[in-house]
Amino acid sequence: MTPRSPGDDGTSGTPADGGASDARDTAGRESTAAGSGRRPTRLLRRAAGLLRWTSLRLRLVVVFALVALTAAVSASGIAYWLNRNTVLDRTQNAVLKDFRKSLEDSTRSLPLRPRCSELQDAARQMAAGPQNYTVLLIGLDRAGKECAATTNKDLLTLKSVPQSLRNAVDQVRPVDESNHFAHHLYWQRKEVGDVPYLIAGAKVIGGGPTGYMLKSLATERQDLTSLAWSLGIATALALVGSALLAQAAATTVLRPVQRLGYAARQLGEGRLDTRLRVTGTDELADLSRTFNRTAERLEQRVEELSAREAASRRFVADMSHELRTPLTAITAVSEVLEEEADSLDPMIAPAVQLVVSETRRLNDLVENLMEVTRFDAGTARLVLDDVDVADQVTACIDARAWLDAVDLDADRGIVSRLDPRRLDVILANLIGNALKHGGSPVRVSVHTEPAERPEAAERTEAGERTELPEGPADEGGRLVIRVRDHGPGIPDEVLPHVFDRFYKASASRPRSEGSGLGLSIALENAHIHGGEITAANHPEGGAVFTLWLPMDASRLADGAERADGGTSGGGGEGTGGER
């Protein structure tokens, strides 16, 4: 009649129930831990709405945070799980051992069929042990009536014992070699209200009473809850730490990247001497070195090209300069010849005339070449003066004996500040071109427009004169001179090239069409004033060249003018400003 409790066989209890409640429990704990870790993630996600997803910094932070979260959550989960098992097992084993022992002790002193009061006494005795559990003893008294003795009627009665446990306890197992006892000690965890309990039961072998005990696990749960909180906080701290680390990592990675980006922009803006300081031996240092090498090569290449270009420009400039010395002598002498042409042999006279006229052409060509090289070298300067535009146009036409062929529509009194020689060059080229290709009547109209620049004027020529007048300089508006001919107009395929140097509309065109530089020089002269020339075809036929010039080009003639007047004498124009 020894209670054949099956030793430490707790694990062979009802794994289904115990396991199930275990799983629920663990899940509950885990969700708490994860909840504290997910909050920063949600915040990050909200911040991501504000930040760019493409930002490398943000991506780094998110990746770091995810890694930290995964690591922290799994570490916490494992730690919690191990702890929980250890704590519960230890408590459980101690309780079950004590229960078995006291059940053995108290039933041994009981008669086979004890009275209810005896049973009650035994239960009370058992419950008085150090483990502080509630005991329920069920036995058959002498009358064969079932008697249930409990130390706490509210907590533990036969009804509150789960049926599955009761069945397991009551079950009689066949005794064989692997199983020495007909009854075992079974246990289960259950919750009453919010409090977790361990409930166990055993039947004393040999017809003794069946004992159940109920032990509160509230202390253990409390311990585990605080453990979970600690782990949760640790996870949160890990997240914050990882975010900070990511930030720091991003900064160390991104600062060189930013420097690289800045340097690349500088390079793109034409500062070819941009170099990066290379520190360390990492990939970014490698990249910096590559950047430096590339920039160096680029600079070399550009230097080579510009040196070559400068050399060819210098060549043209030198050549036209050199041409001028013999030309000066030839010109001076050819005039002498021209004056004598009438008295020369009629066979010789045409030859002399040819020499004279071709010398003049050569002069024009060299003059134009020199002008072009001045523009290319950026040494062209404005010599500004206040001129009446109508007078200027009239004088230009008059000087070239074009008065009969040109129809001028210009009011006197439009006074503009510009370079009269350059305006003359522009007009002579535009009108001369119109007369040559378009044919008379050529109509020239002059008027002014309120300040508003043509978009085309945004285009700037190479060299230092890239500023366009703005604000006050444009207050006077702009001068518009239109030159329209009544010829066949300009073919569409030629239109974009009319201002190109030496552009010939067709290869078969006779060579006596001028130097091929006229319109290009006119355009350069307009640009240096901050103006523009456009070419178009009039809907009623004929080509229209439109020249825009600012009414006051003095903004562009920086340094060309200098006030020399004192306090009393007012301003004056100095001539030394160009030096």
Binding site: H321, V383, G569, G572
Partner: protein
């Protein structure tokens, strides 16, 4: 200047043989008497020996250049100087005018143009009226073609004198640069206004008490210059 109705006597300083020969030929045919020099040093020597009426001076010379020759001449002489410039650089013109040249022509130069400039420059020295005018301490004697300041004779080049005469003929009236170019230099409508500016600068340096704050020859912004009687 001493042409006295005779053939104008010119000194041509030019280093290039071909240009020198051609210009000498051309100018001689236009009715000038021409002596030539190939270097600035020779030219200065000839100037002292022969006293020409006018100098035609190339800018690019071996040894001392045209600007320096011009400056050296101006230290002692007020005779007219016409520069032959390459105008490869506009700076040449400015430097030339500042060193005291009266006019300039650009290579390749036509003989006729050079002749017209020479005659225009020489005409500046001719007297045309016989009165005088006083502007503060400045007395312009149009009959003697002299200008005195505080009783002292001022050494003016013919161009400076003519500029002063033209301005003094219309006291208080602003003359535009283009007007002055026509009146003094006899240039066509495309005259280089820097000629006027340079000449005004030189004139101020001679007639003004404080050249940097002129009281006689005043700049009129957007127009040109005028001669005022000081208050």
């Amino acid at each position: 200047m001493g042409q006295n109705g005779c053939v104008p006597f010119l000194l041509l300083i030019e280093d290039d043989d071909a240009i020198r020969t051609a210009l000498e030929l051309s100018l001689s045919r236009q009715g000038h008497r021409v002596v030539t020099a190939a270097t600035g040093e020779d030219g200065l020597k000839l100037l002292r020996e022969q006293r020409p009426d006018l100098i035609v001076l190339d800018v690019m010379l071996p040894g001392i250049d045209g600007f320096e020759v011009c400056r050296r001449i101006r230290r002692t002489d007020q005779l007219p100087i016409i520069l032959l410039t390459a105008r490869n650089d506009d700076i040449d013109v400015v430097v030339g005018l500042e060193s005291g040249a009266d006019d300039y022509v650009v290579k390749p130069v036509q003989g006729r143009v050079l002749d017209a400039r020479i005659r225009a420059v020489l005409r500046r020295g001719e007297r045309e009226s016989s009165d005088s005018a006083t502007f503060g301490s400045l007395v312009i004697d149009r009959s003697a073609m002299t200008v005195t300041k505080n009783g002292e004779d001022l050494q003016l080049t013919p161009t400076e004198l003519r500029l002063l005469l033209e301005l003094s003929r219309r006291p208080g009236q602003a003359l535009s640069r283009q007007q002055l170019l026509r009146l003094v230099w006899e240039h066509d409508y495309l005259g280089d206004s820097r000629l006027v500016d340079a000449c005004v600068q030189r004139l101020r340096a001679k007639v003004e008490d404080v050249p940097s704050s002129p009281t006689l020859i005043r700049t009129v912004r957007g127009v040109g210059y005028r001669l005022d009687t000081p208050q």
